[in-house]
């Protein structure tokens, strides 16, 4: 049997397509198309993830996936079909499926013509440091993390992932845009006998974070939360680390969509222009922010604009797809989803203005309160008041007289995000935060008064 060559160092780079190859795929589709208009989305994902638990690697995976998605338009009727193969026969099948679906649907008189060529900002987020990480290199990092855990009497669990994605959007009106970036993510939970600590980071550049330093922080949290005390539920001053802030405010993202407002399901209905958060809260959407990631164009190909969403506590602007913009008499902001869809648009590169307080200063300024590392299983209870429920997890602490006094059993909260953002007393510098419930954003740690914890669990 012939041994297939495999070069781990260049695995990712070898999986992405050149500009000529991307054009070739699109041209293959356009050549066979009899549609009024046609559009081709090409996405490639090359990801590898090393997963560890109980101080050893138990899962270790790598994947390469391609998808070619074809949208056709026939007399105001549009539909999409996707294949994961780029050979001419598969592309013709996808084209035919898209055409058949499009012809099956009623005409949409407000469907807009596809956009012509656009100018996009250039962002560079492809790092060789991330693309060249091998399975062995990830394993060596995990080995060091597990040794650290064992030395300190903990059990470590987590992931170390690296990869790259490439996307291209081409249409029959001469539009072409392509983007590729790398990504890296490290997450670790340190489990003690009756406590746990957690830390996580993500970035396009793997060298932007230090897995061992994160592991040390998680271990320290596990150690400081030993023998957790139980506090009664109630309203407490709470210091939320960035991951906890992210997973709460992340639930707001779709509320900034013009389509959500029109459909009556945004919490900003009848609240635009009103003071609904504290004057220390300002939020943008900004794909070009140095801590953000993602393509500088949206699913329709429109350049993503920087949009001021909330100005000193007052929601000022929404984001618009092309259709929503036309309906509202505005310009599209470059936040549309790929058509056809029913959701319109959303900002996916949220950036909160930060403050100058460090976490240590927040703790020192707190007579009695809680420090929360991470939240879990957050769900929306009341969509208009934006009440969310969820649990604290992996590092919840009691603060007394400006110091961390003890670890705590985990709480359930039922808290309005709008109310929370009206009660922010201190803000730290905004950082790229990674959680579990929301896509990564740039958010600060916050000290919040009267955070509503309603019940306590058993650990």
């Amino acid at each position: 049997m012939t041994r297939a060559p495999i070069s781990a160092n260049h695995w990712i780079a070898g999986q992405l397509l050149s500009s000529a190859e991307l054009h070739r795929i699109a041209e293959d589709v356009f050549r066979s198309s009899d549609a009024d208009e046609a559009e081709v989305h090409i996405d490639i994902v090359c990801d590898a993830l090393t997963r560890f638990a109980n101080n050893c690697i138990h899962q270790n995976v790598a994947e390469r996936t391609l998808s070619v998605s074809v949208r056709t338009v026939y007399d105001g009727r549009t539909a999409r079909a996707t294949t994961n193969r780029a050979d001419p026969g598969s592309l013709r099948q996808a084209l035919a499926a898209s055409a058949s679906l499009a012809r099956s649907r009623p005409r949409n008189p407000s469907l807009l013509a596809m956009p012509g060529p656009q100018k996009h900002a250039r962002v560079r987020r492809f790092f060789g440091s991330s693309a060249e990480v091998t399975p062995a290199a990830r394993a060596r990092v995990v080995r060091d993390v597990c040794r650290l855990a064992a030395r300190r009497g903990h059990t470590a669990a987590g992931i170390f992932a690296t990869g790259a994605e490439q996307m291209a959007l081409v249409n029959s009106r001469g539009f072409f845009a392509a983007y590729h970036q790398t990504r890296a993510e490290f997450s670790v939970t340190m489990l003690g006998e009756d406590s746990a600590g957690w830390a996580k980071a993500s970035a396009p550049d793997v060298s932007a974070f230090d897995p061992l330093a994160l592991s040390g922080r998680a271990a320290e949290k596990a150690e400081r939360s030993r023998c957790p005390r139980e506090l009664p539920p109630g309203r407490y001053t709470v210091i939320l680390e960035p991951a906890a802030v992210l997973d709460l405010v992340g639930f707001l993202y779709y509320d900034f969509a013009a389509t959500a407002i029109r459909d009556g399901r945004s919490c900003f209905n009848r609240r635009m222009g009103k003071q609904v958060m504290g004057s220390n809260i300002t939020i943008w959407d900004d794909v070009a922010h140095p801590l953000q990631s993602g393509a500088p164009f949206d699913g329709e190909g429109i350049p993503r604009q920087k949009v001021l969403l909330v100005d000193r506590g007052v929601p000022r602007n929404l984001v618009y797809s092309r259709a929503a913009a036309k309906e509202a008499g505005r310009r599209p902001t470059g936040h549309g989803f790929a058509l056809p869809n029913e959701y319109g648009e959303a900002p996916v590169n949220l950036v909160f203005a930060g403050g100058r307080s460090s976490l240590e200063e927040m703790v020192a300024s707190t007579d009695r309160g809680l420090l929360v590392t991470r939240l879990w299983y957050i769900r929306e209870v009341d969509p208009y008041e934006k009440v969310l429920t969820g649990m604290t997890r992996d590092g919840t602490f009691l603060i007394e007289s400006g110091r961390i006094a003890a670890g705590l059993r985990n709480f359930r909260f039922n808290q309005s995000v709008l109310e929370m953002l009206s009660n922010v007393e201190m803000l730290g510098p905004a950082v790229r935060a990674a959680g579990e419930e929301s896509f990564d954003m740039v958010v600060p740690p916050m000290k919040v008064r009267d955070f509503h914890f309603t019940e306590v669990t058993k650990f």
Partner: protein, 486 residues
């Protein structure tokens, strides 16, 4: 496909794998939706690839590719072995697998009407008609409908000699009416929320659900909720309708019995479980009326957790999870079963697609029907709240403390369903809650609900699970804390 499977296994063997399995999967999906009279999504997709899992150097490796050429498969198998050798740098002991036979078999899930062979026009027409029916009701601000179909061909091969081909067809649909008035957004869904009902069936499922008949009702209820009184905050009796009980089973029984969670393998993300090994056969999980099975066999019904073999070639089984209230069994894989000394895997390894590693997942985790009718249950309840259709769900990372809210509630007074209540919610501790169950309705009122959106694993995998449930009553439950002001 068998040629590629064999090539994958042989390449892995030559590279030094001591065990290997491969899954070639061909997935076809169709998604249709409408919103306020307009077509939303109208999308089809097909995806075909191979996932290769190997044991080398006593550790696992997995690689997946969509390049279904000889060279592509060879590279993928070689990569899986290289990944496994990297895993071996940080292993504890070796991987042991519970014994399993080799099977050569082919299985097709039964269906009457292939949804992919039916015209899209007819499917859209039904959705648009239901959409229009909901919008006919004054006060409805948003009408949404959706249908989803999936056809899955899987060719599984393993180095112990299994060659199993399975073909499955699933269908699902649902409608939602939303009403925004004042400072409230209220909604009602049918037949269930978050996508409706899903099952291992063809288009006959959609036809059986009679969307048009239910559209006006859900629309009227969504609007009426604005005028209904708030569900009170208190401790008392609740009756959960079947779909809500299905989700309660999913979250507070289905997840904690996953043996990989129990063994700490999900500690960083999905979490662990309060069901530590010392509790097996000893814990009083629920009251005597609570018996639960995990049953992947077709005999249990056409659920999203129904199959002939799991994704590591273990035949579908029925595992008793809770017997008369006593905790009796876990969901396991060949590796996790061996780790705790079980003679055999329960057959619960499932992968979302060809590019995902099989992990321990729920199959159909269902409560065994009782003897009550809903009418008798209400008549037997002096003071309680009937809660229907999930609106939100949350549970801690060891599956102890949960809080659910439902779209609608009905007060039960003196054995009768009386006024509508808005914003119902309840919360509790898993074992206390199941021990407070004193009545489960009978087979006549039992439905195998489909949950299409269960997330677990890193990278994330979304899996469909089944949950047979009938209305059931619980005593001394904490009610209303989601909207508590205290």
């Amino acid at each position: 496909m068998w040629d590629l499977s064999s090539l994958a296994l042989e390449t892995a063997r030559v590279r030094g794998a001591t065990y290997a399995d491969s899954r070639v999967m061909d997935v076809r999906q169709r998604e249709l939706s409408t919103k306020n009279g307009q077509v939303g999504a109208i999308v089809e997709s097909s995806s075909c690839g191979i996932g290769i899992r190997v044991l080398a150097g006593g550790a696992w490796g997995f690689a997946a590719t969509d390049r279904l050429t000889r060279e592509g498969v060879q590279q993928c198998a070689a990569q899986a072995v290289a990944v496994a050798r990297a895993s071996a740098l940080v292993k504890s002991g070796g991987v042991r697998l519970a014994p399993e036979q080799a099977y050569v078999d082919s299985w097709q899930s039964p269906f009457v009407k292939d949804p992919f062979e039916l015209p899209v026009e007819g499917q859209l027409h039904l959705l648009l008609a239901a959409d229009a029916e909901m919008r006919r009701v004054k006060g409805v601000t948003l009408a949404e409908t959706g249908m989803h179909f999936r056809k899955l061909d899987v060719w599984f091969a393993s180095s112990i000699g299994s060659r199993i081909h399975q073909c499955k067809v699933t269908s699902g649909c649902g409608i939602v009416a939303t009403s925004f008035r004042g400072n409230e957004i209220q909604k009602r869904s049918y037949p269930s929320s978050f996508g409706g009902q899903h099952a291992l069936q063809g288009y006959e499922l959609i036809e059986s659900l009679d969307l048009l008949r239910h559209a006006p009702r859900v629309a009227e209820e969504a609007v009426a909720l604005h005028s209904a009184p708030q569900c009170p905050e208190r401790t008392g009796t609740i009756v959960l309708e079947g779909s809500q009980l299905g989700l309660q089973i999913h979250e507070s029984i289905g997840h904690p019995i996953e043996l990989d969670r129990v063994l700490g393998q999900e500690a960083n993300f999905a979490g662990m479980s309060f069901l530590t090994l010392d509790k097996l056969g000893k814990l009083r999980y629920g009251s005597e009326v609570v018996s639960v099975v995990a049953d992947a066999r077709l005999a249990h019904g056409p659920g999203l957790g129904t199959f002939a073999y799991d994704d590591e070639g273990v035949p579908a089984q029925c595992t008793e999870i809770i017997q008369g209230g006593l905790f009796h069994g876990y969901l396991s894989s060949r590796e996790t079963a061996a780790a705790i000394g079980l003679p055999r895997s329960s057959g619960a390894m499932r992968a979302e697609s060809w590019n995902r590693l099989p992990i321990v997942r729920m199959t159909n985790v269902s409560i065994v029907p009782g003897s009550w009718s809903p009418q008798d249950l209400v008549a037997d309840t002096d003071d309680g709240i009937w809660m229907e259709t999930n609106r939100s769900w949350s549970i801690d990372d060891r599956r102890y403390h949960f809080q659910f809210s439902t779209e609608i509630g009905w007060e039960i007074k003196g054995g009768k369903k009386t006024r509508m209540l808005k914003n119902p919610s309840y919360s509790g501790i898993t074992t206390e809650f199941w021990n407070s169950c004193d009545a489960v309705c009978s087979r006549d009122f039992w439905t195998l609900w489909g949950t299409p959106n269960c997330g677990k694993g890193q990278p994330m995998q979304t899996m469909g699970t089944g949950h047979g449930a009938a209305p059931a009553r619980f005593r001394n439950v904490k009610i209303g804390s989601a909207f508590s002001e205290s």
